[in-house]
């Protein structure tokens, strides 16, 4: 089915040589090197790290800017559009697998390592008195901590993200029917719901640290809790930034009812972080 598109009469767009990729590589190198130095208590690392971050933001801004300009000047026909769709789908698949690794660690802690440490073999010799329970910070963790409940902020956040999925779908339909006003309104609502989610998540973290004594270092529970919700929060932030970019483009009059890959890509991404959140809500907060 893919081949039919190459008859469209337009040659597949192969871009000119450009320097953004090498800038991106230098930025990644600076971030890695600076990050290593900073983690090993060498303050110069922060200089390298932050210049790397600035360089990569600059690069992404210019690179995506170039792609948007190419799109708006009509360089992308149906075949290029389909390439972008395949590319984004596979990217999201790779993200799913990244989260799968961390969900796997959560599974292992709950089903294997914590029960095993409380089993006869270990509890009689190494860790006397350690019993199987979840949330658990392991036998060597002596401080008291309170686990994060599911029915406060997390439940509200679930509602926020689910309704942001609805508003985004309404915006998409508005775009397809060329109701630009409704499109901008509901896209703005989606961004706002995402922003409230991020703020609440930040509040939840400070609450955990200051009142629940629940930290990243609170054994395997703290590790899985903060790493899973943290990476998810990072992805929501990325998704929200992408939504803002798309909103600005919508307000500038970009996209047509039949030509709006960037909108759909961001929508897929947003639904993906939504689904990951449902997994988090059930497996990290609730059960």
């Amino acid at each position: 089915m893919a081949q039919t598109t190459s008859h469209a009469g337009q040659k597949y767009y192969v871009p000119q040589p450009m320097a953004w990729p090498i800038l991106g590589s230098i930025a990644l190198f600076l971030m890695a090197l600076g990050g290593v130095f900073a983690m090993n208590s060498m303050s110069t690392g922060w200089i390298a790290f932050s210049s790397g971050v600035m360089l990569i933001l600059f690069m992404l801004f210019r690179w995506f800017g170039a792609v948007i300009a190419e799109s708006e000047s009509g360089k992308y026909a149906a075949q290029e559009d389909l390439s972008f769709r395949w590319g984004m789908s596979w990217f999201i698949f790779s993200e799913v697998m990244f989260f799968a690794g961390f969900f796997g660690a959560l599974y292992w802690a709950r089903v294997q390592s914590v029960p095993d440490l409380a089993s006869m073999l270990h509890s009689e010799t190494l860790w006397p008195g350690f019993t199987e329970h979840w949330p658990s910070a392991g036998p060597g963790f002596t401080e008291k901590f309170t686990p994060m409940g599911a029915w406060g902020i997390p439940a509200i956040n679930t509602l926020l993200l689910l309704s942001s999925g609805v508003t985004l779908t309404i915006a998409h339909h508005a775009l397809k029917e060329n109701h630009r006003g409704r499109l901008n309104l509901f896209l703005f609502l989606t961004v706002a719901l995402g922003a409230v989610f991020i703020v609440l998540q930040g509040y939840e973290y400070s609450h955990a640290y200051s009142e629940l004594n629940l930290k990243l270092s609170t054994g395997v529970y703290g590790s899985t809790f903060f790493m899973l919700t943290g990476f998810h929060g990072f992805h929501v932030t990325m998704g929200a930034i992408m939504l803002v970019v798309v909103l600005v483009r919508c307000m500038k009059g970009h996209f047509r009812p039949d030509h709006h890959f960037a909108f759909e890509a961001v929508a897929w991404y947003w639904h993906f972080v939504d689904v990951v959140w449902l997994g988090l809500f059930v497996l990290v907060y609730w059960l």
Partner: protein, 535 residues
């Protein structure tokens, strides 16, 4: 290399209207900024060859130390750093980039596409690699040196290493980014850039194997990234993923790592199968026997590769039922692999065979990879593996798969496509020397290691019992011979580029994929700006 560069202009008559590369950047900037799949493929191949030499020197340090018992040349810590970095550099720096280089050069030409689907991202995928390699090499110069934990980067050892470990972790992140972007590019190119009439089941098998390899990479590299990220946070941010006192488990690392690590074996092997599936039919002057079954076997291998990972972990205290499951699942992979081997043999059956260098390396692959597959079956048996775990038998096994399998296949591909890439023929006599010396020295290094392993010599230890001395001496001599032989490859390639005879359009009359039948030799800078017409 220059011969590769001035090729455009020869085959340009059909795209005269589209001459924009004439005023692109020149010199070094041309290579840094290029969006051309052939330029990028060339860079991948040269990068992988350089890394191959770097990793090879490390292997020679290992073999020099093991030439005789006792500690002669290096400290045990440095020896461990050598085994670790040799593995990481050969897997991620040499073999994987070599096959990505092949993919870049060949896939657009074989499916009739103008270039890769994402030409700029293609550039980025490559240009991340030298920086990741630099991070790995830099780790030698940090306090404590490079990590000496083995290429598998097992916790809890990784938690205790110095800052070289952090550099390695970020190097793995960058390598993973590069692989994922490269794979998304390859998969999208194959799915969306085929010429009209080039249906999936008409693609050359090399494209099929890369389609499935790309899928495996996209599925597993993020998992590896997660594993090293957990290592990083355990080291610096107080998490307890691999710390039993905090409720975690070092064995968890092994599960996550091998969930990536076993498919990684096929990420390396499948493109090698693809190259062999192009070469053997060409020199048998017959179409590939059982094309469809090859496609299904490749897919079956890919699916099975996700449910066999714990065969690397038989001694970690797995329940007996789990061991049995992973043992049987692993043995099951022999079925699709056997389908492939029999298909290659059947392709040659009653063919009109000639034995030029690509075919010689393909046959070397066929014999030795099959042997490596058999020793893999031996190691798949849980009761046997418990005896052989961490011995030289394992080292011998995976070098039969990685060197005689993947590397010989890459050599075969280099000789096969060198005329297409450079427009010139390599020196056949020297090529045959390269093959026979590689073949003899390879077996000198690794065949004897089976005996060492069966006799109980542990791997990753710089000293050994006196009784192992003879075989170790033979192995070390073989290693230096093999290393020197590879300089011959460099000479042959350079000689081809400088002064090789002009290659005809079809140097191999049995080759039938589009890059031979529809494009001039050498391949023009831009191929198939308009899709070719396929019958």
């Amino acid at each position: 290399m220059s011969a590769v560069l001035d090729t455009h202009g020869h085959g340009d008559h059909e795209h005269g209207d589209h001459d924009h590369h004439g005023h692109g950047p020149t010199g070094l900037m041309r290579w840094i900024t290029t969006t051309n799949h052939k330029d990028i493929g060339t860079m991948y191949l040269w990068f992988s060859f350089i890394m191959f030499l770097v990793g090879g020197v490390m292997a020679l340090v290992i073999r020099a130390e093991l030439f005789q018992p006792g500690l002669q040349l290096v400290q045990p810590e440095f020896f461990n750093q050598m085994t670790t970095m040799h593995g990481l550099i050969m897997v991620f720096g040499a073999i994987m980039p070599a096959f990505v280089g092949f993919a870049n050069w060949l896939i657009p030409m074989q499916i009739g596409a103008p270039d890769m689907a994402f030409a700029r991202m293609n550039n980025w995928s490559f240009w991340i690699l030298p920086f990741a390699g630099a991070l790995l090499v830099l780790s030698f110069f940090t306090p404590g040196g490079a990590p000496g934990v083995g290429w598998t980067l097992y916790a809890p050892l990784t938690i205790q290493m110095g800052m070289g470990m952090d550099l390695t972790i970020f190097a793995v992140h960058l390598l993973g980014m590069s692989s994922i972007m490269g794979s998304i590019n390859i998969v999208t190119t194959i799915l969306n850039m085929r010429a009209p009439g080039m249906t999936l089941m008409r693609m050359p098998l090399f494209c099929w194997t890369w389609l499935i390899t790309g899928y495996l990479l996209i599925a597993t590299m993020p998992v590896l990234a997660g594993a090293v990220t957990m290592t990083l946070t355990d080291r610096h941010f107080g998490t307890s993923f691999f710390n039993a006192a905090g409720g975690g488990d070092p064995v968890l690392y092994q599960h996550i790592f091998w969930f990536f690590g076993h498919p990684e074996v096929y990420i390396i092997a499948l493109p090698a199968f693809g190259v062999i599936s192009q070469v053997i039919p060409a020199f048998s002057r017959k179409p590939l026997f059982g094309y469809a079954s090859m496609v299904y076997a490749t897919s079956a291998i890919a699916i099975l590769s996700f449910i066999v990972w714990a065969h690397h972990m038989y001694v970690t205290g797995l329940p007996i039922g789990t061991q049995l499951f992973f043992m049987y699942a692993t043995i099951l992979i022999a079925v699709p692999t056997g389908v492939k081997v029999f298909n290659w043999v059947a392709t040659m059956w009653q063919g009109s065979l000639t034995f030029e260098t690509p075919m010689l390396f393909a046959l070397g692959f066929l014999f030795l990879f099959t042997l490596g597959g058999f020793s893999g079956l031996v190691l798949a048996l849980a009761p046997v593996d418990i005896q052989l775990q961490e011995t030289y038998y394992v080292v011998a096994h995976f070098h039969y798969v990685m060197v005689a399998g993947a590397l010989f296949s890459a050599f075969s591909g280099v000789y096969f496509w060198l005329p297409k890439w450079t427009g010139k023929m390599y020196d056949e006599t020297l090529g045959k020397w390269h093959f026979w010396l590689s073949m003899i020295f390879f077996n000198m290094i690794f065949f004897v290691q089976h005996f060492l392993g069966l006799a109980g010599m542990p791997r990753r230890i710089p000293d050994y019992n006196l009784m192992f001395e003879t075989w170790n001496k033979i192995s070390s001599i073989g290693a230096f011979g093999f290393g020197l032989t590879q300089l011959l490859l460099l000479y042959i390639v350079l000689k081809t580029i400088r002064s090789g005879e002009k290659a005809p359009q079809m140097p191999w009359e049995g080759a039938d994929s589009l890059e031979w039948t529809h494009l001039p030799t050498p391949a023009p800078h831009h191929s198939f700006e308009t899709p070719p017409v396929l019958k």
